[in-house]
């Protein structure tokens, strides 16, 4: 479903990804772990097409398309969702307004009819309920005045509404307390654990993986995947640390 082959990328001339290869098949959830500065967030942004993140080599194929050839909004319409480590605040634009524009733009790009205001609110209410986020929060401006935990839950509500085929989640667990972590993890399972979907979960901690059990765990270090294993690899990391396991 997502095939990354020998990907090289840099920011401001600084090489961050150095020949990263990875394949996630439909129906699979993969976790990427790695020390600070390994290139985890860079990988997420490169997949999401953030300006300034320059691909200098390699390829990324998503659902049979050359992902790197698409503009960021086209990637979203093609079914890719990027969960931000630091969700962005947009003063003056409400969540409802933003997400309805986003969903209908995606539907239009796929040749589908737009959702009416009523249909959209029904969908939004359902997904907010799934993530235990007060519907009133969605009437407020995008992420403005939200706590760290609320931002991450709102991010997952967005994912639920947009219903992507593939999600790249960049440290969605950071900043969450134990209860919120469980809610978010179960949300990811409910929305994304399906045989026609895939997830790339970037995380520092084993705890999220207790809830969202991955099929594979990769260790990213120095801009490439240095080790791949099953869920037990995350446990081993927790015990022994990156240096011992990835060496």
């Amino acid at each position: 479903m997502l095939k990354i082959d020998n990907l090289h990328a840099e920011i401001d001339g600084k090489r961050i990804l150095n020949g990263l290869s990875l394949t996630v098949n439909a129906g699979e959830i993969h976790a990427i772990m790695g020390p600070n500065g390994a290139g985890k967030s860079t990988l997420a942004y490169v997949l999401g097409g953030r300006p300034g993140y320059e691909v200098t080599g390699g390829s990324v194929t998503f659902a049979g398309q050359d992902l790197l050839d698409l503009e960021p909004h086209e990637r979203a319409a093609a079914g890719l969702f990027l969960g931000f480590q630091y969700p962005v605040e947009i003063p003056g634009v409400s969540n409802v307004q933003f997400l309805r524009e986003a969903l209908n733009a995606q539907r239009k790009a796929r040749g589908e009819e737009p959702l009416s205001g009523g249909e959209f609110l029904k969908l939004a209410r359902e997904k907010a309920g799934l993530l235990k986020l007060d519907m009133e929060m969605l009437k407020r401006n995008v992420n403005v005045g939200f706590s760290g935990g609320e931002k991450k839950r709102a991010e997952m509500v967005q994912m639920g509404i947009l219903d992507p085929a593939f999600a790249v989640l960049d440290e969605t667990d950071s900043g969450l307390d134990i209860d919120a972590l469980r809610v978010v993890g179960e949300g990811i399972n409910a929305i994304m654990r399906a045989e026609n979907k895939g997830v790339l979960l970037i995380t520092h901690y084993q705890r999220l993986l207790d809830v969202v059990k991955p099929h594979k765990v990769h260790i990213l270090s120095g801009g490439r995947i240095v080790k791949t294993g099953g869920p037990e690899l995350a446990l081993q990391l927790e015990e022994e640390g990156y240096e011992a396991v990835a060496a």
């Binding site: 909004h73 979203a76 605040e89 003056g92 986003a102 969903l103 995606q106």
Partner: protein, 257 residues
């Protein structure tokens, strides 16, 4: 002296005049006296009026000058949408009597090489009057937006509450904005606030929207709408504020208002 002042009244405005210093010189040269007259607007004691000025794409420069007299406890709300393709200037000279209120919500939007300016001179002549001015300027290509706002609080005009808030949003490198707040306060028990900032569209917000599937032109429209909405927050009638916002956004997208 009389002849000198008569002469200066005849003299067309130039950039040497403080209140015209950011207007384009070539436009000033072409102005004739008929364009420079003031229209009177008086609001009687205790009355409330709303004045809406839409400056449309016109064949020539547009100068609108309004001389406002607010009687005791009178209220005037003015709303301005300026989407001209030529030099446009909207100017208010306001005198506030005791307990009266003046409100201005103004938006300028322009590209090309146009200059739009909103110029105010608000005189708090008696105690207990309030004024609030919110101006948002969105310019692109080589467009320019100016706000020159003078507030005078005369001696004895205690309990004055005056606020002035300007923000410029520049969509292209060649665009510019000038803000000239000027406060002259001769009373000691007053509130006078002013703020001015000039910035660009938030790149991270644009990317975040794109990452959710919002195409760039729609993202721009949403962000500009959020930016200019402040100017019409005080409009009580929701339909009217919506109409003003849509007019402004039409100007953004190059439509003739």
């Amino acid at each position: 002296m009389a002849s000198a002042s008569a002469l200066s009244a005849m003299r067309p405005p130039s950039n040497r005049d403080e209140a015209w210093r950011y207007a384009p010189p070539t436009e000033l040269e072409q102005l004739d006296e008929s364009q420079l007259g003031w229209r009177s607007l008086s609001v009687a004691e205790g009355e409330t009026e709303i004045e809406t000025l839409i400056v449309r794409a016109g064949a020539r420069a547009s100068i609108q000058r309004v001389d406002v007299q607010l009687d005791r406890h009178a209220r005037l709300a003015t709303h301005v949408v300026c989407g001209s393709r030529n030099f446009a200037r909207v100017e208010f000279r306001v005198r506030l009597a005791e307990g009266s209120h003046f409100e201005l919500g103004g938006v300028t939007l322009g590209g090309g090489e146009t200059t739009h300016e909103i110029v105010t001179h608000v005189v708090h002549a008696e105690p207990g009057a309030t004024s609030s001015q919110v101006v948002r300027s969105v310019h692109w290509e080589c467009g320019t937006g100016n706000f020159l706002g003078q507030i005078d609080v005369v001696r004895g005009a205690q309990q004055t509450d005056a606020a002035q808030d300007f923000k410029g949003l520049l969509l292209d490198k060649g665009a510019s904005a000038h803000a000239v707040p000027q406060l002259e306060i001769f009373a000691d028990d007053v509130k006078c606030a002013h703020g001015a900032t000039v910035g660009q569209l938030d790149e991270m917000a644009r990317y975040y929207m794109a990452a959710r599937g919002v195409p760039p032109e729609v993202a721009k429209r949403l962000l500009v709408r959020a930016f200019i909405a402040d100017a019409f927050v005080s409009v009580d009638d929701e339909k009217e504020s919506e109409r003003l916002l849509e007019l402004a956004l039409a100007a953004l997208e190059g439509a003739e208002l």
